[in-house]
Assembly symmetry: C2
Homo-oligomer: 188 residues x 2
DNA sequence: TAGTATACCTACTTACTGGTAGGTAATCAA
DNA sequence: TTGATTACCTACCAGTAAGTAGGTATACTA
């Protein structure tokens, strides 16, 4: 079970494709070509595409949660924590990708329903984490907003997801940079 | 050239499919089945899928611009105008669809590049219109925000697009309703 | 050393994709 | 009334999708 196992390489390739071309915009043949292996070998690790997609989302969620923990642990101050959060999306954009969760949400009507609960949990995890940060920031006098932290957290996440879509389509990272600053300014 | 011409019915069907299953998530066969005609008849009206997609986006843009004009003409007050704008997205959501522009943006990596300029124009039209409304609202003392109207317009649109994705995936119209109110409250 | 599991492979199937060739019935203009 | 145009049709094509059957080499295990 080495680090760059074929299984992981398949997931990496599938994720890159899913984040650029859509959840139904790539095939086993695409991955096989990129990795220099055969389609059947991918079916060995992920018998059906549903299996691959399930694992893709699960891995993405786990990775995201671990990033959130790192931010809480290593970054001081709610404003800087929100900045770091938004920074993750900016990094995704600079790789010409959008969020896997956002991509999946856009394709939810064409996806097996078994994936939906995990996707919903993904969004809830994000919103809950953001709401916690915002609550703490307000109590500490760093942030200033009216209404619930939950609703501002939803708006913050929605704007990042939508901004990622727009900036990626417009091929304009500046759009996203300004959006990011506007969102954080509004909370102060 | 009657109102419900086959050509229009094809576009209607394609649009519904594109807004629910993705821009690459439907086929000529799907449309043919829904309309009770043959695939070849669709090719008669739209020789290639690129032709269909181009027309789809063009029609959507035109329709949207005409809605914006109606709002400016018939609705008084920037706050109410923004409410009506957001209302259009809520209607889309209640049809279990997302914005065609947002869907297209999410699939931009898998779409012919010929479509991109029109998509970029779509977003710019929206942002410019919103920025105009916001500028007027600020001058009239109805709205209150710091920073440029352009950046708040971008944030507003991005949040609606992202919120549509999330609320649709979560099958929760309440999420979108609260988001909408939060966005407008923040501008006051 | 014999048996089993792992991780790949070639070669295939079925179903669906966008697209084309060519035919037909109805309408319309000269 | 002839000839063109419109709006459909049947029947097909090559390519690609996900998925399967069955083979092979290597490693681990009893």
């Amino acid at each position: 079970m080495e680090i760059n196992s074929t299984r992981d390489l398949i997931l990496d390739s599938a994720q890159a494709l899913a984040q650029t071309r859509g959840f139904n915009g790539y095939s086993y043949a695409d991955i096989a070509l990129e990795l220099g292996i055969r389609k059947a070998s991918i079916h060995y690790h992920f018998p059906s595409k549903n299996d691959l997609e399930t694992e893709l989302l699960s891995r993405y969620r786990t990775g995201f949660v671990s990033e959130l923990q790192k931010i809480e642990l290593n970054v001081n101050g709610s404003i800087e924590q929100l900045q770091r959060y938004a920074q993750m999306y900016a990094t995704t954009l600079s790789n010409n990708r959008i969020c896997l969760g956002g991509m999946m949400a856009s394709d939810v009507g064409a996806l097996p329903e078994t994936l939906t609960p995990s996707l919903v949990s993904f969004f809830k995890e994000q919103v809950d984490w953001l709401a916690n940060i915002m609550d703490a920031g307000k109590k500490a006098g760093e942030l200033n907003f009216s209404g619930s932290a939950q609703s501002h957290a939803t708006a913050f996440l929605a704007a990042l997801q939508g901004g990622l879509l727009m900036a990626n389509a417009m091929e304009d990272e500046g759009v996203f940079k300004r959006l990011r600053q506007t969102l954080i300014n509004t909370l102060q």
